[in-house]
Symmetry: C2
Subunit: 222 residues, 2 copies
C-alpha cells in the first residue's frame, strides 16, 4: 500500500533457468529491480508469503502484487511495460509463440534435465530419446537467427535452459551435426549481450545443479 509506483522485487535462486527467463525479460525492457536470492533448502518467509500455492521461485513482486510461474511473469512484464515487446504484435504470431513456449515447458524441460543429470543409464537414454523428438520440432521451427526472428523473443527466453545446460554447464545435450540450427542458436543466444549479462557463472550453476541432482536422485538415504 505504501509502495512507490515502481517498486519491483524479484525472488530467485541463481542458476534456475526459470529465474533467468524473468531476468532476461527485465533486461530486455531495461527495467531496474531489486534481486533477492532465496534458498530452496530453507525457503524465506517472503517466498512462502508471496507464492503460497507452489512455494517456488521465481516470484516477481510489483508494488506488493506477487506474480509467480515464469511464463506468466513474462506475459505480465510484456503487458505492464509495452516498450521493447517480447511477444509479437500479430495475434497469430503471438499464439505461435505461446504454443512453442508451452511446448518447451511440457516436452523439453524435464527430458533435458534428465538427459544431463540422470544417473540411471536406461532412464537417461529414454529421456534423451524424448528430448531429441522434441528438439526436432524446435529445430524445424527455427526460421531465423532467433525464434523471435532477428531479435530475441518469447520462445528464445523460454528455451534458456538449453544454452544453460549445453554451453555454460558444458553438458552437451546434442551435437552440431544432430541439430545444426539449434546448436548455432545456443551460441548466439548465450553470447547475446542482453542474455550474457544475466546468465549465471559456472560456479553458481554448479551449486544450483548439485541441489537439483539431489532432488532428482532416488531417495535411497535418510
Amino acid at each position: 500500500m505504501a509502495a512507490s509506483k515502481e517498486e519491483l522485487t524479484l525472488l530467485g535462486v541463481m542458476g534456475s533457468p526459470f529465474l533467468h527467463r524473468v531476468q532476461i525479460a527485465l533486461k530486455l525492457k531495461g527495467i531496474e529491480y531489486k534481486y533477492v536470492e532465496d534458498d530452496l533448502n530453507n525457503k524465506s518467509d517472503l517466498l512462502l508469503k508471496y507464492n503460497p500455492v507452489y512455494k517456488m521461485i521465481p516470484v516477481l513482486v510489483h508494488n506488493d502484487n506477487p506474480i509467480s510461474e515464469s511464463v506468466v511473469i513474462l506475459e505480465y512484464i510484456d503487458d505492464a511495460w509495452k516498450h521493447n515487446p517480447i511477444l509479437p504484435s500479430d495475434p497469430y504470431q503471438r499464439a505461435q509463440a505461446r504454443f512453442w513456449a508451452k511446448f518447451i515447458d511440457d516436452k523439453c524441460v524435464a527430458p533435458a534435465w534428465k538427459s544431463a543429470f540422470m544417473v540411471d543409464e536406461t532412464e537417461k537414454a529414454k529421456a534423451k530419446e524424448e528430448l531429441f523428438e522434441a528438439l526436432g520440432f524446435l529445430e524445424n521451427e527455427l526460421k531465423g537467427r532467433f525464434f523471435g526472428g532477428d531479435e530475441i523473443g518469447f520462445v528464445d527466453i523460454a528455451a534458456v535452459f538449453i544454452p544453460i545446460v549445453q554451453v555454460i554447464a558444458g553438458l552437451p545435450l546434442f551435437s552440431s551435426e544432430k541439430f545444426p540450427k539449434l546448436f548455432q542458436w545456443c551460441q548466439d543466444f548465450h553470447n547475446h549481450p542482453l542474455v550474457n549479462e544475466v546468465l549465471p557463472t559456472k560456479d553458481q550453476l554448479s551449486t544450483y545443479f548439485k541441489a537439483r541432482v539431489q532432488s532428482l536422485a532416488p531417495k535411497n538415504k535418510n
Copy 2:
C-alpha cells in the same frame, strides 16, 4: 490463401472439456464458425495436418492458420477479437487469471479425471486427495459469483471440466459441504446461457468418457 477474411473452423470431439473451453469463448464473443467433429480412434487427415505436434483436438483454424492447445486458443480468440474480453484489461489481473488457468491445467485436470474414472480404489483415493488440495485453493480464490467477477472469464472457462464431470455426468467430485462456493459456481456456470448452449449432452459425454476411460485403464488386454 484463397480463404475469405473470416473463415473459421474448429476441429473437436464433443465431450472434450478442452473443446468446450474454445466453444464457450467463441460463444462469448458471438463468433460464428464451422464445427468439424473428429474421431480420436481414427484421426482425420485435417487434424494430422493442422496439429502435427500433438495430433490432438481442439484445433482452431482461422484463414488456414491453425492454433492448438486450448489455453493458447483462448488467448488467440481474445487477441484477435477484442470485444467482450475474456481476460481482464489490468495487467496484474490478467497475470492472476493466467496463473489460475495454468494451475487448473497443472494441478486439477488429471486428478479430477482420475477421481471420476479410476477403477483402482487406492489410486482413486490418492487422486481425490490431490484434487481436494487443489480445489481448496480454487475455493479460496472464488471471490464473486464467477472467477471473472459478475461475468464469466478466462479462469471459469479453463475450469469447465469441473461442471462437466460434476453436474452433467453426475459423477460428483465434491459435496456442497466440502466446497460450498465451488459447488454453487458449478451450478451457476453450467446454467449460464452462454455455457449451457455449447455443453455436451449426457449421451455425448458418455461416448467421450468411455473412450477416455479406455485410454486411462491399464492395458491388460490386447
